[in-house]
Amino acid sequence: MIASARWRAAPARPRPFFLWLFLPSLAAALLFVAALCEVAQYAFRVFTPGSLEAGGFTLENFARLARPIYLSVLADTLLISLATALFTLLLSYPVAYAMVRAKSDFVRSLIMLLAVTPLFTGEIVRTYAWILVLGSNGFVNSVLKAAGLVNAPLTMLYTRFGVIVALVQFSMPVMIIILAAALAHVDRNCERAAANLGAGPAKVFRHVTLPLTLPGIVSGTVVIFAWTMSAFSTPQLVGGGKVLMISNLVYLQGLSSFNFPFAAVLSLLALAVAIGALGSMRPFVSRLERKAAVN
C-alpha cells in the first residue's frame, strides 16, 4: 500500500540536547526516589511505642492494614476520590466547553479567568472559606433558612459531602484546563461534517465531540482521582476529624502516635493506588476509544 511507508515509525535520530534537557528531571527523580526509599524502609521495621527509633525487620505493619478500621479509611478515601473525580468531570466539562467554544474573545478570557483564579488562592484559605460557607450558620444554611426551605440547619460541615464539595471546587481548575486542551484539539470540521451528514447537536456531541475528547476525560479524571487520594488539608479542616482519608491517617499515625512504620505502610499504599490508577489509564483509554468508535 502507498500509505504504509508513511505511518511506519521513523528511524531513531540522534537527539543532541536530549541528555541535557533530561538531567534536571533526573536529579529531581533521584531525590524523590531516595526519600521514598527512606520512607519504605520504615515500613518493614518494628514499632516500639514511646520511641522514635524503629526496631528490627517485620511484616507486621502490612498485616495491620487488614484491620476493619483501616480498611474503612481506605474505602472512604477511594470513594471520596472517585466521587470527587466524577463530579469534577461533570461540572468542568460544560465550563471547558463554553470556554473553548465562546464566540467572543472577551467571554473566553472571562471564563478562563474565573476558572483558573482559584488556583492562585492557597488551599488553606479556600478550605476556610468552605468552612464558612458550609457551617451551621454558614452561607448555604442562611440562604436555605431565609428561603424557608429548611427549619434546622443542614449538617454539611464535617461530612463526606462537605469534603467532596470542597475537593471538587479545588480540583475544577485543573480539570477545566485538561478538558479545554482536549476540546481545543477537536477539529471543528469533524463536527460540521457530522451535522452535514444529518446529526443534530446532541448527536454531534455524542458521536464526535465526546469520543474525540475521551482521552482528555479519562486523563483528567485519573489525575483528579490520584490527586484527591493524597488530599490532606481539605479533609482535615472540612472533615474536622470525622472524615478520615489516608493522608489524615498517616498524619495521625506518624505525628500523633509517632508510629512511623505504620505511617510508612499507609503512605506506600496510597502511592501504589495512585500509580495503579495512572498506569491503567492508557489501556483503558484505548479500549474506550475502540468501543466508542463502533457506535
Binding site: M1, I2, A3, R6, W7, D187, N189, C190, R192, A193, A194, A195, N196, L197, G198, A199, G200, K203, H207, V208, P211, L212, E289, A292, A293, V294
Partner: protein, 364 residues
C-alpha cells in the same frame, strides 16, 4: 429526479459579512439539476463562505437560499441533505472507513443490511473496496480523499459540495483524481458545486464555471466560452495567460476594425458582431500567447510588429517567449517546441504577428 426545469439550487441576492469584511455581496446564482458547477476565484474571494452558507454552517446576512425547491435559509445543516467534502477531509479519526461512510446512513436510521450494501456500493464507486475496516490514520492522503467523497455521496445529497478537495494532493494524483471526479459525477448524476482556485482544474472538470472576485460573480459560462469570451478584464487575466495591450481607439474601415494605439501603432482585425465596439470608442485588447506568432524574414503577415527577445521559458511541449514590443509593452508568445530558443536568442530583434481576430476586445 425532478423535472429538468426546476433548478437544483438557487441563491437569491445572498450577502454575508463578518464584522467589517463583506465576504459575499448580493450574489445570485442558479445551479442546474445534475450539473457540475465550479466556483473559481482567488484566495479570500468568498468561495468557502458561499459553500458554508449552502451547507448551513453560516447564516446569510441577507438574501435567501433555495435547495430542491425548498427555502432552506433558516434550516439547520442537519436537515438540509447536502453532502460536503471538506478541504482537510474532516474524517472521523475514531472510526474506521466503513463507519465513516455509514455515519450519514446511521443518522437516517437505515437498516443494517441495506446500510452495508449502500456503503459497499459507495466504496466501490471511489475504488476503495476492501479497505472498509481500515483505520483513518492508516490511509494515504488520496485514500482519505476518497473516503470523504464516499461519505458524502452515500447519503444521495441534493447537492454535493466540494471545497478544494484536490488541493492537498500532489500534482500527479490530482490529475488522476480530476478524471475520477468527472467519472464519478457522470455515474452518480449528483448536482455538484466544486470550489477551486486552480483554473486548469476548473476548465478541465466543469460543465459551467462561476468566476468570483471579492464576493461578487464576475462571469458564469462554460469553460470554452470563458476562455474565448471573458466578460471583463478580471476574467480575461484570471483564466489562462493573456497579454493586455495598451488602450486603443477604434474605427471601422471597410470590412476591418482598425485600432490606433499610442506610439503610432495601428492594428487591424476583421469586423465582428460585437455591439460594444463602436467607432471612436476606447477599447482594451487582450491577446492569448498562442495568438502571437513569430514571422520569418519579410513574409507578409497581419499586424506585424518588431520587437526584442527578452526571455525564453521552456515548458516541454512549448516555449513561452517574452518580448519587448516598444509601445505595446512586454508581450508573451507561446511557440511550439524549443527551437525558438536557438533561432531567436535573447537580445535579438524579431518580428511577430498579432492575430486580433481571436483577441478579446472589451469596451473601455
Amino acid at each position: 429526479m425532478k423535472g429538468e426545469a426546476s433548478p437544483a439550487v438557487e441563491l437569491i441576492k445572498v450577502s454575508k459579512s463578518f464584522d467589517a469584511v463583506q465576504a459575499v455581496r448580493e450574489l445570485s446564482l442558479t445551479i442546474r439539476q445534475g450539473e457540475l458547477l465550479t466556483l473559481l476565484g482567488p484566495s479570500g474571494c468568498g468561495k468557502t463562505t458561499l459553500l458554508n452558507m449552502l451547507a448551513g454552517f453560516e447564516v446569510p446576512s441577507a438574501g435567501s437560499i433555495v435547495i430542491g425547491g425548498r427555502d432552506v435559509t433558516a434550516v439547520p445543516p442537519y436537515r438540509r441533505n447536502t453532502g460536503m467534502v471538506f478541504q482537510n477531509y474532516a474524517l472521523f479519526p475514531h472510526m474506521n472507513v466503513f463507519d465513516n461512510v455509514a455515519f450519514g446512513l446511521r443518522m437516517r436510521k437505515m437498516a443494517k443490511f441495506e446500510m452495508a450494501r449502500a456503503v459497499g456500493h459507495a466504496l466501490e464507486m471511489v475504488k476503495l473496496e476492501g479497505l472498509a475496516s481500515r483505520r483513518i490514520r492508516q490511509l494515504s492522503g488520496g485514500q482519505q480523499q476518497r473516503v470523504a467523497l464516499a461519505r458524502a455521496i452515500v447519503i444521495e445529497p441534493k447537492v454535493l459540495l466540494l471545497d478544494e478537495p484536490l488541493s492537498a494532493l500532489d500534482r500527479n494524483l490530482r490529475g488522476a483524481m480530476q478524471v475520477e471526479l468527472r467519472e464519478l459525477h457522470e455515474r452518480t448524476g449528483l448536482t455538484t458545486l466544486f470550489v477551486t482556485h486552480d483554473q486548469e482544474e476548473a476548465l478541465g472538470l466543469s460543465d459551467r464555471i462561476v468566476v468570483m472576485s471579492r464576493g461578487e460573480i464576475q462571469q458564469v459560462a462554460t469553460p470554452l466560452e470563458l476562455y474565448r469570451l471573458p466578460a471583463n478584464g478580471f476574467v480575461a487575466s484570471f483564466i489562462g495567460e493573456i497579454n493586455r495591450l495598451p488602450p486603443a481607439r477604434c474605427r471601422t474601415e471597410g470590412n476591418d476594425v482598425v485600432f490606433e494605439i499610442a506610439g503610432g501603432i495601428v492594428l487591424r482585425a476583421r469586423k465582428r458582431n460585437q455591439p460594444t465596439i463602436g467607432a471612436g470608442q476606447e477599447t482594451h485588447l487582450f491577446v492569448r500567447p498562442e495568438h502571437l506568432t513569430l514571422v520569418e524574414g519579410d513574409r507578409p503577415a497581419p499586424n506585424r510588429v518588431s520587437c526584442r527577445v527578452t526571455a525564453h521559458l521552456y515548458q516541454g511541449a512549448y516555449t513561452l517567449t517574452r518580448v519587448d514590443a516598444g509601445p505595446l509593452g512586454n508581450l508573451q508568445l507561446r511557440v511550439l517546441g524549443g527551437e525558438v530558443i536557438a533561432a531567436a536568442p535573447i537580445g535579438s530583434q524579431i518580428k511577430i504577428s498579432i492575430d486580433l481576430d481571436k483577441a478579446v476586445i472589451l469596451a473601455g
